[in-house]
Each structure stands twice: as C-alpha cells, then as structure tokens.
C-alpha cells in the first residue's frame, strides 16, 4: 500500500471512530483527505466509489467493525461509523506469569497461518500494555501442529454449517465423499479429529483430519443444526482406544541378554536351563504371538498352548510368504 493510501485509511478509521452519527460516503469524501473528487463528473465519481469500496474491504479484512445504517429516516443513502466499544480490545490484566504463558503459547504453533495469527494476537495484547517476557520457558512445551482441514472445520463448527469432504481410509481404494454436520474438533493422543453428525450414516461419527483429501467444502447456511448439549466430544474419539485388560499370563523363554524390549513387559523373570523364563501379561494371544515372532530364535513361547500354536502358525506363514520372493 502506498503511503498515501495508508495515511488515508488511518484517517478514515480515526474519523469513523470519532463520529456518533453515521457518515455517508459523500460526507466522508468531503472530510477525509485522499477522497477529493468531483461528484458531478461520472468518471471521477466512479473512481472514488471503487476506491472507497476497496478501503472498506481492507478495514473489514483487518477486523475493524464497520457499522452501516441509514443516517436518518429521511436519508436513502447508507452511512458508516465505528463504535469504539466494538473496536477496542477489552481491558485485560495479566499477571507477569500469566503473560509469559500467553507468550509461550503464541510461539507453539508450527502451522504458518495460525503462527501468524497467534503473533498478531499477541502484538495486540502488548499494545494493550501487557508485558511479555520473551525469555520465559515452561517445563514441557507441546509442539502444536494441525492438518490443513483444521481451519475450515473449526469455522464450520462455530457457524454450524454442514461440510463435505473426501475421506481416505487405508482399507479402501478410493476416497469417499462424507457429508457431516461438525460439532467440534478434537485433539486426542496427538491426532486431530472432527466429531459430528454424519448425514448419510444418520449417526454421530468422528473423522481423522489427516485422512481428509483436498478441500473441505462448507455447504448450506449458517446455523443449520444444533449440536447436542454437554457432549464430551473427546469421549467420541477415545472410546475406541480404551485401556485393554491384560489378564492372560504367558510363559516365554528368552536367551540371556536378548530381547530387551520383551523383558520390559515381563512381570516376572527367573533363570532357566536355556535362558530366562519370563511371565508376560497379555490380552490377545495372536497379538502377543506377533510380537514374539519378531524376536525370532531369541524367544520361545512355552505356553499357554494357544499362544504356542499362534507363534508356530505365524512363523510358518512368514517363511512361506518370503520363500519365493525375488528381491527387488
């Protein structure tokens, strides 16, 4: 932006903040430097209107709350003003340690767009008099990243607008279009999900943001649905990955000094004739068998029989699968 344009816009903001009456475009043109033109000359007038439209758009993009109304009952033309109450950041009193926390939070973002938003937000707090210690650190700092779909989905959830997106599940060959009324976005175990009502399944569903392919399309109007009240959205995601009870006890013989990973799971270990005999808690024999198989001849499953059988079966499959592979 040229210096003259910046100057004109600063003056426009000050002018509209200082007025209680709504000012028409003509009144603004007669007041704010930079809008001088001949209203009788159609070309000149049109140029002014374009300039004024651009300036209004610029202010709105910046978040300046431009109010619009007819100045009085007899006037057909719209007028403009900015209410100081709507414009100004409310008073915010942060203790030094609280301000430091906000400063740390603002630099956690690794996503370029949100990092910029966080630092311009922080700049406003500082302009309000908040002093932020740039050296402050906290014990454990999370690295905050989001998937590209995060922005559109939070907007949709806030505005209660339905969305549609292509969703790729590894087990399926092609992505499928899903139509969802998003209730909210959730971070669970380091991954992002959107939870909402699936319009085709006619039930609540959660979707992993990293599986969304391409753009999220906002469809339909704002306020199109009402999310359920007091819903714990995280529970929608976490219920699929609850803790598993490891009630089974396996006996496994491990060669001395080997299979360090397996030893970490053992609840008991005694020295035996041909190695250490470990007792390992488990839930699903096939899953434990898969882990044991990875250790090859360093471990031997001694029991229970179903575990031993599962290990033998899996080993046979591995041998069969890799027998005739021509290396690439």
């Amino acid at each position: 932006m040229s210096r003259t344009r910046t100057e004109r816009l600063v003056n426009l903001v000050i002018c509209l903040l200082s007025t209680r009456r709504f000012l028409t475009a003509a009144q603004i043109a007669a007041t704010v430097p930079g809008y001088e033109h001949d209203p009788e000359d159609p070309k000149d007038h049109e140029a002014f209107q374009r300039k004024f439209e651009r300036d209004k758009a610029e202010l709105r993009d910046l978040g300046v709350p431009l109010e619009m109304a007819r100045p009085n009952a007899f006037d057909d033309e719209l007028g403009y003003r900015i209410a100081h109450r709507e414009y100004a950041l409310p008073d915010i009193l942060l203790e030094p340690d609280e301000a430091a926390a906000v400063g740390i939070a603002a630099r956690l973002w690794q996503h370029a767009g949100l990092a910029a938003a966080a630092s311009s937000g922080l700049a406003k707090l500082r302009a309000a008099g908040v002093e932020v210690d740039p050296q402050a650190t906290l014990g454990v700092e999370p690295v905050v990243t989001v998937d590209p779909a995060f922005g559109p989905l939070t907007t949709a959830a806030r505005e209660r607008r339905a969305v549609s997106f292509s969703y790729r599940v590894p087990e399926r060959d092609e992505p499928a279009v899903r139509r969802v009324e998003p209730w909210g976005v959730v971070c669970w175990q380091g991954r992002w999900y959107v939870v909402g009502h699936d319009r085709d399944r006619k039930a609540s569903r959660s979707f992993r943001l990293s599986r969304i392919v391409g753009n999220v399309r906002l469809t339909g109007r704002a306020g199109a649905y009402q999310p359920p009240a007091n819903e714990d959205l995280i529970e929608h995601v976490s219920r699929w990955s609850g803790p598993v009870a490891h009630n089974g006890r396996a006996t496994v013989t491990v060669r001395p000094g080997r299979a360090a990973g397996l030893r970490r799971w053992a609840v008991d270990s005694t020295a035996g004739a041909d190695g250490d005999v470990l007792t390992i808690p488990y839930s699903d024999p096939d899953r434990l068998a898969a882990t044991l198989v990875g250790y090859g001849a360093d471990v031997r499953a001694d029991g229970p029989p179903e575990l031993r059988e599962a290990v033998i079966q899996q080993l046979k499959e591995i041998v069969a699968r890799h027998e005739n592979v021509a290396a690439t």
Partner: protein, 324 residues
C-alpha cells in the same frame, strides 16, 4: 483461516494493522526508547521512525494542530501526547482468538508443565477478552505418564545432569547413559527429553516412556555449544537418504502401517500396495515387519529378506524338538 481466502495484499494490511497498534503500544509506555519499542514490536528502528512520521500527519477531521496525533520525540525517546481516539488496540480477530485459545488449551493439557493453574488463569482472561470468539469448538486431551514426567521435569528445571537407563527400540537394547538435558517437549502426543548424550556425543531425543530408570546427578547440566535443538515441526524422525530403503508388498489389512510409520512412497498394485520406507536399523525392520501381520511381504533389500527368512526358520526349529 488463511487457506479459505484468496491471497490478500498482505504487506499493506500488515502496515495498517501495525500503525493502529503502534499508538496504543506507545501510549502504554510513555518515554520508551525508540530502539526498545522497535525491538518490542519486531520492526527496525528505521521502520518505526517512518511509521511515526506517517502518524504525525493523521488525526481528527479538521486536521489542525490540535486534531493531529501528537508526540514528543525527545532524542531517542518517544511519548504520545495526543492519540486522536485510537487509544486501544483492535479487538482480536477470529483467527487470533482461535490461535491463542487453542495453543493455551494445549499448554494447559500438557502434563508436566508444572504451573497449570497459571495457564488456566491466562486462558480464562484471554477468553473473556475475546468474547464470543473465544468459544472455539476445539477440545484437547494429551495422554502421558504425568507423574514420571513431573518428576523428570523438576530435575531438568534444577539444571542437573541425569543418568538414564534407556530402552532404544531401534536396536532393542537397554543402555546406561549420562545426559545433559536441554528441553522437554510433546510431539504428536508423546513426551520427549531432548538432551546432549555424553555416550553418543550428540543431541538425542529420549522418549519419556522408554526411560526405565533415572537418577539426578550432583553436577550441572552442561550441553556443549554444538548441542542445538532439533526442528520437530514435522515430527521427531527425519529419515535421511543415507538410511537403508526397505520395500514391501502390503495387503489391505495392513495398510494402516503407512499412517503410523513415515513412508517414502506408496504405489497401488492390484489389491496390494507397494510401499517403501527408510529405517535406521535392519534389525528393527525385521522385528517390526515380522510382526505387523500376515499380509506384509518384504521384497528388499536382499539382506533384510534373508534375515527374516533365517530368523523365522531357526525360530520354527525350536518347536520341532519340544524338549530342546
């Protein structure tokens, strides 16, 4: 959100926003040194002086001496004496409120940060300043062994070197090492200690859940000058081209591994996927790939293929003679 709009004329909007912020910033700090103000605003002194010159000719309609923004530039110090009505910063935009609120929620949820109540108070104040915009439809829950994390963090805060008993999954071994802690962080829901490892003579990222035992040494942590924090913006593991490339045929039921492990390429071939990935250690690859499921076949490198065949065959032998 940025990706929802077209490319805005960024630099111009930035300058207008900066100017509207500048007046209240200086108003709150009468007599601030120009150099300090520039540093605080993240701009050069030259930019700041140009901004002040521009503001000097802006003001209320009338634009006479009493209407224009006024300031005293006393040598190197500046004081706003008349603000023409821009006495407060603009309120937060939706994106700004979202970015701050979500990052604070993340911070509050991070186990081991110690002063959670401070973060909660800061969050409440930001939410109140942001009004309706703070009602971000975003919830966060991070898992971890909070108690162990808390105790390790306290030791790191005290600035002491640590002795670790650490399990390295890639080599399947538990080792003893002395480390000089640098920082603790959460990446993708997992907590890490980044430290200078005296044994490896390099910086290392230690997963907290793999620290099997530890003790605080009676000496200060002194990471050497060359110990620099790693860039973790896209994860902790950054396989380089020097690492062995493993190729696989993956059946439908095991395609999930491409979401859990960093893979180089995925190419559909009929019902199967041809997947390639770089691994730090072939032994780790052998353990992992033997255990992911019945529809993963390793196709290279030949060394790994041979290792998988040999391991499985000798393992089977143990069961052929029940009383080995």
């Amino acid at each position: 959100m940025p990706q929802q709009r077209g490319a805005p004329p960024k630099a111009s909007a930035d300058r207008l926003g900066r100017l509207l912020n500048l007046v209240p910033y200086l108003l709150a700090r009468p007599g601030i040194a120009v150099a300090d103000a520039a540093a605080g605003l993240g701009i050069t002194e030259q930019q700041l002086r140009a901004d002040l010159e521009l503001l000097w000719v802006c003001g209320l309609p009338g634009y006479g001496p009493g209407d224009l923004i006024d300031m005293v530039l006393d040598g190197d110090r500046v004081t706003i004496t008349y603000d023409a009505g821009i006495d407060r910063p603009l309120r937060l935009t939706q994106d700004e409120a979202l970015a701050l609120v979500v990052a604070l929620r993340m911070l509050a949820e991070t186990p081991g940060t110690g002063n959670r109540d401070v973060i909660e108070r800061a969050l409440a104040k930001i939410e109140s300043a942001a009004g309706d915009l703070a009602d971000a439809p975003v919830s966060v829950r991070l898992p971890a062994n909070a108690e162990r994390l808390d105790r390790i963090r306290a030791a790191v805060d005290r600035g002491h070197a640590l002795h670790l008993t650490y399990y390295t999954a890639t080599r399947d071994e538990t080792t003893e090492r002395t480390v000089d802690p640098m920082r603790m962080l959460m990446v993708g829901g997992k907590a890490y200690l980044e430290a200078w490892c005296r044994r490896a003579e390099a910086t290392r990222m230690f997963r907290i859940d793999r620290i099997d035992a530890w003790s605080e040494l009676d000496e200060a942590a002194r990471p050497p000058a060359e110990a620099t924090p790693a860039d973790v913006s896209d994860g902790v593991f950054h396989p380089g081209p020097e690492l062995p490339l493993v190729t696989l045929r993956v059946g439908r039921g095991s395609r999930w591994i491409t979401e859990y492990y960093p893979v180089e390429s995925v190419r559909p071939d009929g019902d199967e996927w041809l997947v390639s990935m770089r691994v730090t250690d072939l032994g780790w690859a052998q353990r992992l790939l033997s255990s992911v499921g019945p529809d993963v076949t390793v196709t290279g490198p030949p060394e790994l293929l041979e290792r998988i065949r040999a391991q499985a065959t000798t393992a089977l032998d143990q069961y052929a003679t029940p009383d080995r």
